[in-house]
Symmetry: C2
Subunit: 334 residues, 2 copies
């Protein structure tokens, strides 16, 4: 089978990471690079000399390139929707970096378009495809009846220093659909939705910073079964606390839920007991995700497209709901 000929929009480190790992799967070729400036596209392409991608500074031209059958989009959040819409409309599969959309309405429109064009749309969440994340999910029954969970991702961004100097970098700019919730928060939200399903209620306690955006915050998800999940995400401080899942029978501990190194099981009835459940990790940490994207596209696995659509909907319902409740509004919202 011919490789999926991939175009990319956005030339940052995440695109580099995705492309390099996608190529190791043997399922992709890098067919096109879009950037607003030729030099930037050229600089990115030069990292993959064997691929000889076409270079574009026009989205229309990329959309019109019949040789490209899938597009990976990792542009600034604000452009995700319009760019995905254009590429899906042009009949290309779209692998869309998180956050796929700012609102569920946008997701509705994108998925309706994807299905009508018979192309795949998938939001690119790395961690939920990792082998150890899947082990964690399969291990949930060990804890017995769930009592709660605390999932944490606090990673200090050097851009916060710009904020402290009075600047407004895009990642902390609501006008650019920024803020910690949709940037790092979606990782812990995506993990929670994948592990526990959609919550009954979501309450966000943002830490508002000088730009007006949330630099971080705590999200409490309550579930109808009676347990609560507490999510902490931050770009303004580091957290070194592990994530934990609590049940009547014990505690599962995960040092980093966004990149699962180990999964440790501690049985409450056996004091001091520790059992390691995690296995050997894939060293190329985006390879598992890219391989799954390729498989879904090649096999036209609509069941999985719909399964991940449900997941993306679960995530965006939370982010959209708590953003509106906290006045964290993006352009066009009121």
């Amino acid at each position: 089978m011919a490789p999926i000929n991939l175009g990319v929009i956005g030339t940052g480190w995440i695109t580099d990471d995705y492309v390099s790992h996608a190529l190791t799967t043997g399922k992709f070729a890098l067919g096109a690079v879009y950037s607003r400036k030729t030099e930037t596209a050229q600089a990115f392409a030069s990292k993959y000399p064997a691929q000889k991608p076409s270079l574009y500074t026009s989205l229309d031209a990329l959309a019109g390139d019949a040789a490209i059958n899938a597009v990976y989009i990792a542009s600034p959040n604000l452009y995700h929707f319009a760019q995905a819409k254009q590429m899906l409309g042009a009949g290309k599969h779209v692998i869309l970096e998180k956050p796929a959309a700012a609102t569920e309405k946008q997701l509705d429109e994108l998925f309706a378009l994807a299905y009508s064009k018979k192309v795949v749309l998938v939001e690119a969440f790395r961690h939920v495809h990792e082998a150890n994340f899947k082990i964690l999910k399969r291990s949930l029954p060990k804890v017995g009846k769930l009592l709660g969970a605390s999932l944490t991702f606090g990673q200090y961004s050097s851009r916060f220093q710009n904020v402290l100097r009075g600047e407004t970098p895009a990642v902390f700019d609501l006008k650019m659909a920024g803020g910690a919730l949709v940037d790092l928060g979606v990782y812990v939200i995506a993990a929670a939705v994948e592990l526990f399903g959609e919550p009954e209620t979501s309450v966000y306690y943002p830490i508002k910073i000088a730009t007006g955006a949330d630099g971080g915050g705590t999200l409490v998800l309550t579930y109808k079964e009676g347990f609560n999940v507490v999510l902490t995400a931050s770009k303004v401080f580091n957290s070194y606390a592990p994530s934990e899942i609590y049940g009547e029978k014990g505690t599962l501990s995960i040092p980093t839920i966004t990149d699962v190194e180990t999964v440790t099981w501690m049985d409450a009835s056996r004091k001091g007991s520790r059992e390691e459940l995690g296995g050997e990790r894939e060293k190329l940490n985006l390879k598992e995700e890219a391989a799954e994207h390729a498989r879904i596209i090649e096999e036209a696995d609509w069941d999985q497209v719909k399964r991940w659509e449900t997941h993306s909907r679960g995530v965006v319902r939370i982010t959209e709901g708590v953003r509106r409740a906290n006045g964290l509004l993006f352009p066009g919202e009121s």
Copy 2:
């Protein structure tokens, strides 16, 4: 100066712990032991043969013992108020185990009585008197502007197994003024109030267990300065996560906020930096608390009595408020 002649109400492990450490300060003598049964009082007294305490099975008799000038109360929560009232009324200093009271109104009454009788009333919180806790408090300016904190105390109680068998042990019985919030929760609440002051709002997300009480839960305190403090307390699962305090300049990490072993400072601007701030610990972990109680009583330090009264009020306002908001009602409440 003659030692403070201490009577004790309650003969459990915590009383044993307090008395043994109090005696090491050289400031206390064990003058009386009250228990409902003579054998229990006798068994407790036999651990301190050199002290030759009087044994009582009547609170009136203990209250009437003029040789006793202070009483340590560590009975079941439900009896704290009436017993403290009786002992204060009899002109004795009272060291009252946490939770001192179920409501602020009860505290009002107890403190009014203490002041009118010119005796000391103090709620017994161990951790806030520890040297390393004080170092932590003094170190707060290191983090710069506060962004948040997460304080955690999750300790599985073997009594939870009784609950799972359909029983209602006192510690999980609302009729006995039980539940995780007033049992372990007060430790993290007391730490938060001592470190950050009283919050603007408090929201509790309890994990309700079969007895109707809270087996644990998450408490979110919001502060008018814009930061939030997330407290996790549980008697139905163990948490191995450290407590953390976040600021614009970095993170303070404390393995166990209720028993501060170490205080580690991690500067956000210097990746990988770790500085240990904590010092040598007092091995007898209630000695610092007991020594402070003795000092306050001996010096009649009313400023400190009022300072800790303010602290106890801050704690009970939170517990009472969130209990009522969540229908976690004790006898006589509606």
